[in-house]
């Protein structure tokens, strides 16, 4: 699919580029905004769309805090240039809960003590939902591998693994 490509010769006399138009679907809602093509998807979500549930940890794809699901695939939003998200369907943590009710995975994290300071939690939950979408009944090893790109400095991980297993038992629907 050809992406929305800005036209050539877009630099002005100062060497600065001009923003381009970006259309994408976030949590089921179609959005169109003007951004620089190299703006990080993370910044588009947080600053342009106000979806601050997605957290920035390391900013280099090591910690998983900024994980979102793009076209059904788990990605680190800090490593996605906005232009590569043109036309994409994106789910953030805000799309996991309905207006008044927590998602199954979120409820399991709360009940099992899988969230403490909360910085890693949105990314953990999206990674866990991505895992259960691919493997609805994962083994403990599969849970560990599915979350291996998400670092947590509080919980020691065991409660998080319990939460994912519990959500799988309840038939998580993200």
């Amino acid at each position: 699919m050809p992406l929305t490509a800005p036209s050539k010769g877009m630099a002005d006399s100062s060497g600065k580029r001009k923003p381009c138009e970006l259309s994408l679907t976030v949590n089921g809602r179609q959005k169109t905004l003007r951004v620089f093509p190299m703006e990080r998807l993370l910044d588009v979500l947080r600053h342009e769309l106000g979806l601050t549930g997605t957290k920035e940890g390391c900013g280099e794809g090591e910690c998983g805090s900024c994980s979102v699901i793009m076209n059904g695939v788990l990605v680190n939003s800090c490593l996605i240039p906005a232009l590569q998200a043109a036309g994409a369907d994106i789910t953030t943590i805000e799309g996991i809960a309905s207006e008044s009710q927590l998602g199954t995975m979120q409820a399991a994290f709360l009940e099992c003590g899988g969230a403490q300071c909360g910085i890693c939690t949105p990314g953990m939950i999206l990674s866990a939902c991505h895992l259960l979408n691919k493997k609805p009944q994962p083994t403990l090893d599969e849970i560990r591998e599915g979350l291996s790109g998400n670092l947590c400095r509080c919980t020691g991980y065991m409660q998080i693994f319990d939460a994912v297993a519990e959500a799988a038992r309840r038939g998580n629907r993200s």
């Binding site: 699919m1 050809p2 992406l3 929305t4 490509a5 800005p6 050539k8 877009m10 630099a11 060497g15 600065k16 580029r17 951004v35 620089f36 093509p37 190299m38 703006e39 990080r40 900013g59 280099e60 794809g61 090591e62 998983g64 994980s67 695939v73 788990l74 990605v75 680190n76 800090c78 490593l79 996605i80 240039p81 906005a82 232009l83 590569q84 043109a86 990674s127 991505h130 895992l131 591998e145 599915g146 291996s148 790109g149 998400n150 670092l151």
Partner: protein, 309 residues
């Protein structure tokens, strides 16, 4: 300092022909970006020299894994996830499948590509020793047409490679003839996921007469018929240990041979001290990994013990 997106241009022409035309028209000006797992890290850190980027993510000409009777053709923009989930790769090319599984975490595997791993040319890249062991052939593409190069000669020095400024890697070809081989790979890192290797190894070997098919008590068939050993993170480029291979080939695996192979391996590598490890540790562990591989290869020989034990 963090980069300002206003200083960078990024376009996505959507067709391979348009991308290679751009690389020809303005050679060295445009940096291809696929999944961004290396380029975006440099960009965020303010270390990206290029100011103009061209997206090759989702170019159909670079995607897909094609299985032919004698060869598997891997599109350069295939992701680690696609590699590790591919039935033929997991069955016949386990060195590549495990390297894909060991790279980064799931999100990075969903975006990182095999072609990107090659051109990023990190000496520590996990998938590159596997490509050396399988003696991959690369198909490069430019407006001048296709060029086929052996992967063995591709990396010429640290981050230098046999790739012209107007060329892209289009396909990685692996011959489908390693089913009868012992395939051995290890990654030595601080943790399993999201860790860059201190040392990684990919090795293939076969004894004369194949694996464990000789008659009991018969020493024929225990000599090494074919062997390839490649290591990462111990030299400026991913390295085939051809000196070790020459010592081992045609011989029966025993403690004397393993001793010689260890010494040759330690002599062939050029490890350094860095944030992840030390030259001394890398040297010792490389020798140990070569020894472990050869022991496992030797163990595929027909057993000499009595069948009645």
């Amino acid at each position: 300092m963090r980069s300002n997106p206003a200083d960078y241009e990024l376009i996505a022409p959507g067709k391979l022909q348009a991308v290679i035309q751009l690389l020809t028209n303005e050679p060295g000006q445009w940096l291809p970006i696929a999944g961004g797992t290396d380029v975006m890290v440099q960009y965020v850190a303010g270390k990206l020299a290029a100011r103009k980027l061209v997206s090759i993510w989702n170019l159909p000409e670079l995607r897909g894994i094609e299985t032919l009777p004698d060869v598997i053709r891997i599109g350069a923009a295939s992701t680690y996830t696609e590699l590790r989930e591919h039935a033929v790769i997991t069955r016949e090319f386990p060195l590549l499948a495990s390297a894909a599984r060991w790279t980064g975490g799931i999100a990075n595997q969903n975006r990182g590509t095999i072609g990107g791993n090659i051109v990023n040319a990190s000496p520590a890249a996990d998938s590159l020793p596997a490509l050396l062991a399988y003696e991959a052939e690369l198909i490069l593409v430019s407006v001048r047409g296709e060029r086929r190069v052996s992967y063995l000669d591709f990396h010429t020095a640290y981050k230098k490679m046999n790739l012209a400024p107007d060329e892209l890697i289009q396909t990685i070809c692996l011959e489908r003839r390693f089913s009868g081989y012992l395939q051995y790979s290890r990654k030595v890192g601080a943790r399993n996921a999201q860790a860059i290797s201190k040392i990684c190894i990919a090795a293939l070997g076969r004894l004369r007469g194949g694996m464990a098919h000789g008659e009991l008590g018969d020493a024929i068939g225990s000599e090494v018929d074919d062997v390839r050993i490649a290591v990462g993170s111990v030299a400026p480029v991913p390295l085939r240990l051809q000196q070790v291979e020459r010592i081992v080939k045609g011989k029966s695996v025993g403690s004397e041979l393993i001793h010689l192979a260890r010494k040759a391996a330690a002599a062939a590598i050029r490890p350094i001290d860095d944030i992840r490890s030390t030259a001394r540790y890398r040297s010792a562990v490389t020798a140990n990994l070569v020894a472990e591989f050869l022991q496992q290869l030797g163990a595929t020989a027909p057993r000499r013990e009595s069948p009645y034990e």
